[in-house]
């Protein structure tokens, strides 16, 4: 990630937690216009205050305005189309975003349709945007990103159409879709007032009908759309408060589900090009990342049925055939020699030894300080009781059900690309850059994603496919084998973390000193500001590694939450305290956290008797704006631990679609449980050892616990995410439960290796 360090170097102020900056102002702009056919369109744009030139160019093509693709279109046929700038990978964003817009608009849900914004970057029109100052947003709390961070997040996620960071609802939905819906509603009302010559204040809107009660006048949205487009934009579109919500907060059925039960939903792997015969490509990249193809012997493969082309691309080998299976069979017959490098010597043990060395060198006060309160080292030196621990987590693959794939057709200086990507604009730009053509020559088509989890924010599959398609000249569908998908991932990094805690004579936690190896983000993941600890020091050391790494569901929270919450339990054990009681003590000044913790404890019947060799573990984590606590119940009577129940309480501020939010918690719990129990990517001779579900196993239904989820709507003004926050507390709840059941204290994941 050279790009990242380059920007860090150029940032005038070295970022440090707690430092105030405020040079960005957040202003929301609404644009409206008339489409041919008399449809009203309303969109929302965000403009920065004084963006540095570099950023401005990157974000908005030079004019300082970041136009965002959250739109509503209201047609003469009364159909309300919510245009959403995020992709659907099962998280339910399409439906929830439409729900938010439709509620502010008071639309008839039966007439709402969803359109995913095309990845062309021009969906928003600069010409129809007129300035508008939104109500000033509140100063961010500990739960919100900083003004800077928040602004950039919003701009990036919306304008660049990236889906990730559990962002869609709390960002795009809260600040984009709702504003667009409210503005459109105000304009429809103004149009009716003008037509009927009645005061706007007496006009109401309900389920797609604009009405004036006293006179009995009524009009459907479609009748007013054209006139509405000519109305002045509202200076302050008023957003509803929860008491007026009609769709928000309701468990509305997801609109993408029917196509997912009858086989008609189109994923990237299902793409067909009308009128074109597709050929299929299978690929094999060097097992050691960065190696090149030194020699290829394709004599056997050449003679195999269906084979069309065999390509040595330098950094991978591809076979193009009439069918995918034929391509893969032929590929299996190709022998390849790869270039050698120092990375050939790396194995898992050496990687962790390197982490240990980096941590040793940093010592008690070295490394980069992320947060500091009081004097942790000084207190620790004189502490009545000292607790220390070291933890390790492995590399993890994403293992989305749909293996990576991409269909591309390159001809006449143009390129069409089909895939399911979390970053459609990134995919389009990657294709353009790879081919050396401008982005407007690339037509990118996004599909449903057969799982994303962060993997589909990378574009390596796109680049490979366009290179192959350029060589063939005819359309090619590239499909990775499961083996390739497992071995050529952008992995969740492995990491090590060390802790020292000091307790006073009364058993109170007085100091917390943590240092961990670090590669990724968000950098607040290792912070514990919600815990009331008088002296704390949190540091990181950079730990280079040769494997590619990328965002994996909840990113650094997946590691840090396990480190933190395991250590909290170790402190409780050392202090002779109940793990719940210690956390209550530590959360005395964090009422929302405490409420979540208490609720989950109550749900789980914390403290009630369990059979022998059974145990409960508790953990709490704050990530992506949401607070989630979980209790896992474990049965250790058999050879391997069995998780029987998981209780989860989440405070996302306000759950826009409670059933969708609950489903996200369930999903994060199973994804986290799979990883904690089994997940481990190992390296030998520089190469990833695991290859498919037989050696990188997944949790199955017979091992799936019963899951109970409750939601607290703690603050409707500050929404948190859903896709990721269910995951972080699961691993520590599990290992804490194993300890409580009389098992060992696990300090190295995955759990299964300790029970082999």
């Amino acid at each position: 990630m050279n790009e990242m360090s380059e920007v860090i170097a150029e940032t005038p102020e070295t970022p440090k937690a707690g430092k105030k900056r405020g040079k960005w102002t957040r202003r929301t702009f609404i644009g409206a216009g008339l489409l041919t056919g008399g449809a009203l369109v309303v969109g929302v744009a965000i403009r920065s205050g004084k963006p540095p030139e570099r950023l401005r160019a990157m974000l908005a093509g030079g004019d300082g305005e970041i136009l965002v693709n959250s739109f509503v279109k209201i047609g003469k046929d009364n159909i309300v189309t919510a245009v959403v700038p995020h992709v659907e990978m099962g998280q339910g964003a399409h439906t929830a975003l439409a729900q938010m817009l439709a509620d502010e608009l008071d639309a008839d849900w039966n007439n709402v349709r969803i359109l995913e914004a095309p990845g062309d970057g021009h969906f928003a029109s600069h010409n129809i945007a007129r300035e508008f100052l939104a109500p000033e947003l509140k100063v961010p709390s500990v739960l919100e990103p900083t003004v800077d961070g928040g602004f950039l997040t919003l701009a990036k996620m919306m304008a660049l159409q990236i889906t990730g960071g559990s962002f869609s609802i709390r960002g795009t939905g809260q600040r984009g879709m709702r504003a667009a819906g409210a503005a459109a509603r105000a304009m429809l009302v103004a149009a009716a007032a003008e037509k009927w010559q009645l005061p706007a204040s007496e006009i109401s809107v309900d389920r797609g009908i604009v009405a004036h009660a006293k006179s009995g006048k009524r009009a459907a949205f479609g009748e007013l759309a054209e006139a509405a487009a000519k109305q002045a934009l509202p200076a302050q579109p008023k957003l509803k408060t929860p008491k007026d919500f009609k769709l928000m907060g309701k468990p509305i059925a997801r609109l993408d589900i029917p196509a997912k039960v009858d086989g008609t939903a189109i994923f990237g792997i299902d793409v067909q090009i009308p009128g074109q015969k597709l050929s299929y490509a299978a690929v094999k990249a060097p097992p050691v990342v960065g190696a090149k193809v030194a020699k290829m012997d394709a004599s056997a493969a050449k003679a195999m049925p269906g084979v069309l082309q065999i390509l040595n691309m330098g950094d991978f080998v591809a076979v193009v055939a009439e069918g995918y299976w034929q391509a893969q069979q032929a590929l299996n017959q190709i022998t390849v020699e790869y270039s050698k490098s120092d990375a050939d010597k790396i194995d898992t043990a050496a990687i962790f030894a390197g982490y240990g060395k980096a941590l040793d060198e940093a010592g008690a006060d070295g490394g980069d300080t992320l947060a500091e309160t009081g004097d942790a080292a000084a207190f620790f030196a004189k502490a009545a009781k000292k607790v220390t621990a070291q933890y390790h987590v492995p590399f993890l693959a994403h293992a989305a059900m749909e293996p990576m794939n991409c269909t591309a057709w390159v001809r006449g200086g143009l390129c069409d690309v089909w895939a399911g990507s979390q970053s459609p604009l990134g995919a389009r730009n990657a294709a353009a850059k790879t081919l050396g053509i401008s982005a407007d020559k690339v037509n990118y088509h996004n599909t449903y994603l057969g799982g994303g989890f962060g993997r589909r924010s990378e574009t390596d599959n796109i680049e490979m496919a366009v290179r192959i398609a350029k060589a063939t000249g005819y359309p090619v569908k590239l499909i990775w084998s499961r083996e390739e998908d497992t071995q050529q991932d952008w992995y969740r990094p492995s990491a090590s973390s060390r802790f020292e805690a000091g307790l006073d004579a009364s058993g109170k936690l007085m100091s917390w000193n943590n240092i961990h190896t670090h590669l990724f983000d968000p950098q607040e993941a290792p912070l514990v500001s919600y815990y009331n600890i008088p002296n704390s020091l949190i540091r990181k050391v950079d730990a280079p590694m040769h494997l590619r790494f990328g965002p994996w569901r909840s990113v650094d929270h997946s590691q840090q939450s396990w480190f933190i919450e395991s250590f909290v339990d170790e402190i409780a054990e050392a202090a002779g305290k109940d793990p719940l009681a210690l956390r209550r003590e530590l959360l005395a000044k964090s009422p929302r956290h405490l409420a979540v913790l208490n609720r989950v404890a109550k749900m789980a019947g914390w403290g009630s008797a369990l059979p022998a060799k059974h145990g409960r573990g508790i953990a709490i984590a704050q990530s992506f704006g949401s607070i989630v606590a979980e209790v896992a119940e474990v049965d250790l009577t058999a050879k391997k631990p069995r998780v029987t129940k998981v209780y989860c309480c989440a405070d996302p501020g306000f759950a826009m679609n409670p059933d969708g939010y609950t489903a996200q918690m369930e999903s994060g719990i199973i994804y986290g449980l799979t990883a904690a129990l089994y997940g481990e990517i190992m390296v030998k001779n520089g190469a990833v050892q695991q290859s498919n579900f037989h050696d990188y196993p997944m949790l199955r239904m017979n091992e799936a616990p019963d899951i109970f989820v409750e939601i607290i709507n703690g603050d409707a003004q500050r929404l948190g995410g859903g896709g990721e926050p269910g995951l972080p507390p699961l691993a520590p709840a599990l290992t804490n439960a194993i300890r409580a059941a009389g098992g060992m204290r696990i300090r190295h994941l995955p759990v299964a290796k300790h029970f082999a």
Partner: protein, 153 residues
């Protein structure tokens, strides 16, 4: 939390310049055929069924042979090669990717274990790749186990 910003800038750059290198031409390009022209599919028939020497062999051919080879040294198919299965440990064949459930079971294949497996593979090994092959008739299982015993000699 200021770092959030830096990260996002990094991600934006990564998204906009995801591929650092310009378009790379293939180092070698072997063009064998054009799509739809030539490259006729292999039309050789499936191997003919052999003599049905015993009831078990016949049942095996109908219910099991789709996935399992039996000749010594023959490659595994959708299921592992079964030559010498009697008395062997589950998960022994090198060229087959066993499910975690099967591989870690520690089962030694006695006639009784085989009978349990064939009666309901998924119940014996939840998560097994053996989705088919259930024999509900005990007499059929007995015959197939007799055949497997025969070929394990």
């Amino acid at each position: 939390m200021q770092q959030t910003k830096i990260l996002f800038i990094g991600l934006i750059l990564a998204a906009l310049s995801a591929c650092g290198s310009p378009a790379e031409e293939p180092a070698e390009q072997l063009i064998v055929a054009k799509p739809g022209a030539g490259a006729a599919p292999d039309s050789s028939p499936a191997p003919a069924a052999g003599d049905l020497a015993s009831k078990g062999k016949a049942i095996f051919a109908a219910a099991c042979a789709a996935c399992h080879s039996v000749e010594a040294g023959e490659a595994s198919g959708a299921g592992p090669n079964l030559h010498g299965i009697l008395g062997a440990k589950a998960g022994r064949v090198k060229d087959f990717a066993y499910s975690q459930a099967m591989k870690t079971s520690g089962v030694i294949w006695t006639p009784m274990e085989l009978d349990l497996l064939l009666a309901n593979p998924a119940a014996k090994f939840p998560g097994t790749a053996m989705a088919a092959g259930k024999l509900t008739d005990a007499a059929d299982r007995e015959a197939v186990i007799a055949y497997l015993t025969d070929i394990s000699k």
